[in-house]
């Protein structure tokens, strides 16, 4: 058994035999948390010991570097790679904490036409040799930027929130993904879920969304104000062990790797008071 693990390690060191999974993270609608999801899943996968590279294809509106706190380290961007001003490896920015994690940043001064589908495909193929996971951060919309991002991918994660508009756009995106032969599978990630609002019938439930989109679920992320602070700090929330959203993202990463992780019970975990209560009632129960 150990021998097998060793063998696997040497294989991955050789590089040429390794073939990574290219996953595009998309949503159609903007502001539902594509980039946040990307940063967190990427970080979580890297924490789990996988070699991960994230590609930001949102040319002209790059954000992924901010979320990771890597803005000041970017020298070359994806456009520099495509226009052959540098080698691909030179453009990869290593994460501050995790050496397994790399970022290929988008160019802020250019627009979506600066890169073509073919070029992105090539970049993905090349990165596949050295990484376990290539996460492609897709821009909002269904235009060239989306087409580029999807070009090299074989799997997709569709991010949506429990809102009618986001679900409608996700439906459109799934339709487009289904039409693409290269995309072998797509999974649904429901972001910004508020159990209390669902309980009071003010928000669509997770079941509703899954039912409407008839897609399989890979994660449910609760609404967490910590996301805002983590974005501002450039520190993905998965690094916060206490955060429920962080936990949810770590679970998503484990599911991507292939583990069978049950979905978090958001209702129970939301209230600290209920936990405290449970603890005390537990104590009293024991004493009796």
């Amino acid at each position: 058994m150990t021998a097998l693990v060793e063998a696997e390690k040497t294989v991955s060191k050789k590089g040429d035999i390794m073939s990574g999974r290219v996953i595009v993270i998309t949503s159609g609608k903007g502001g539902v948390g594509k980039t946040t999801t990307n940063a967190n899943i990427g970080t979580a996968l890297a924490r789990a010991g996988k070699k991960v590279v994230m590609i930001d294809t949102d040319l002209g509106l790059r954000n992924l570097d901010l979320l990771l706190g890597l803005e000041n380290r970017i020298v070359y961007t994806i456009v520099d790679v495509v226009e052959e001003r540098c080698k691909l490896k030179q453009a990869l920015v290593k994460d501050k904490k995790n050496p397994n994690l790399c970022l290929l940043a988008a160019a802020q001064t250019r627009d979506k036409t600066a890169v073509t589908e073919e070029q992105l495909k090539e970049i993905c193929e090349e990165l596949k040799k050295d990484f376990d996971f290539i996460l492609v951060d897709c821009p909002a919309g269904i235009e060239q930027g989306f087409q580029n991002a999807v070009a090299g991918a074989s799997e997709a994660i569709v991010v949506t929130t429990p809102e009618m508009s986001a679900v409608r756009d996700a439906d459109r995106i799934i339709g487009l993904l289904e039409a693409k032969e290269e995309i072998k599978s797509y999974k649904l990630l429901i972001n910004r879920v508020r159990p209390s609002m669902i309980k009071s019938n003010d928000m669509m439930s997770v079941e509703d969304v899954v039912e409407i989109l008839s897609a399989s679920l890979i994660g449910i992320i609760p609404e967490d104000t910590g996301i805002i602070t983590s974005t501002n700090k450039g520190e993905p929330i998965v690094n916060d062990e206490k955060s429920l959203a962080g936990q949810a993202y770590r679970n998503v990463a484990r599911r991507i790797i292939g583990e069978d992780v049950p979905f978090l019970n958001l209702e129970e975990d939301t209230s600290i008071m209920s936990k405290v209560k449970k603890f005390f009632t537990g104590l009293i129960g024991k004493e009796k």
């Binding site: 409608r168 459109r172 339709g175 509703d208």
Partner: protein, 293 residues
């Protein structure tokens, strides 16, 4: 007044009113609504006796809202004479209507009256307004009787059937000859399916999707998008679904939109569907429950 509606207007049922003041009060409430301006108004007055000055004040009230009295219906002789004096047209709707009797539907006259009655019920039961001209930019709402009381629906179905059955059957045979496009997947937002023949979809049609067929459309799932059957103008085409929740239904050249009161963009899946069928009945798209037919 042969049809159950008024061009650019509506009918106000005041048959229950006992005094002229009640009529004025009820009427002022109706006229206060912004939609009531510049409309032809028909008053259903029943047995109420109105003198000439009373009618003048009612007329004046209506005219302050820039509307006009199209006609009034009454059984009272006093009201009739006062109306005649004022030159207001009298119609006998609501007075000659027979008690609703399903067996009476064999005769055509009775059918028209009964249709009128149900149309009136609809108006008075839900709101005082009804858009009736299908060519108007603001399309008439889909007249869903499935959501209403079961009574109404049974009436509508049984009154309509004898008249059109022959043509419907004939058309069924015609559509059978058309080729059928068979699709087994969910049709999603932004996708459009069109066919020269019939379309059968096993799966849902999500909002934002579009289905266009020259023949019939059948959806074995929830129809939530736009469906257009009989796209070459055949108004005998039908649209069927396990659940009809279409944003817009078009059959031939007739349009209908989902009522604004139905604010359920998405329908929950259940184990017990009542399949529904949309077809054209006298220039209106009607939805019928299939299992009761």
């Amino acid at each position: 007044m042969e049809k159950g509606y008024v061009e650019n207007g509506f009918i106000v049922d005041l048959a229950h009113a006992k005094k002229a003041s009640e009529v004025l009060y009820e009427l002022s409430k109706v006229l206060d609504m912004p939609e009531a301006k510049n409309k032809s108004i028909c008053l259903k007055l029943g047995e109420l006796n109105l003198t000439e000055p009373e009618l003048v004040s009612i007329k004046a009230l209506i005219e302050t809202m820039h509307s006009t009295i199209e006609f009034i219906s009454t059984v009272s002789e006093i009201t009739t004479t006062s109306a005649k004096e004022l030159g207001i047209e009298i119609s006998n709707i609501g007075t000659v209507l027979p008690a609703l009797d399903i067996t009476a539907s064999e005769e055509k006259n009775e059918t028209v009256n009964a249709e009128l009655e149900t149309a009136l019920d609809k108006i008075f039961g839900q709101s005082d307004f009804e858009e009736t001209d299908p060519e108007e930019p603001d399309h008439p709402e889909i007249q869903t009787n499935s959501a209403e009381t079961d009574n109404k629906e049974v009436q509508l179905v049984s009154f309509e059937e004898p008249e059109d059955l022959e043509t419907l059957r004939k058309n069924d045979r015609e559509t059978e000859k058309l080729p059928t496009l068979y699709i087994h997947r969910t049709i999603r937002s932004g996708q459009s399916i069109s066919s020269e023949g019939n379309i059968v979809i096993i799966g849902d049609v999500n909002p934002g999707a579009e289905i266009i067929a020259k023949g019939d459309i059948t959806v074995w799932g929830i129809l939530g998008g736009i469906a257009h059957a009989g796209s070459d103008g055949n108004t005998y085409s039908k649209i069927r679904a396990l659940k009809l929740n279409a944003i817009q239904i078009r059959i031939g050249n007739i349009f209908a939109r989902r009522p604004d009161t139905v604010n359920t963009p998405y329908i929950h899946r259940t184990d017990s569907y009542v399949p529904e069928e949309a077809r054209v009945n006298k220039n209106h798209i009607m939805i019928y429950k299939l299992h009761e037919a």
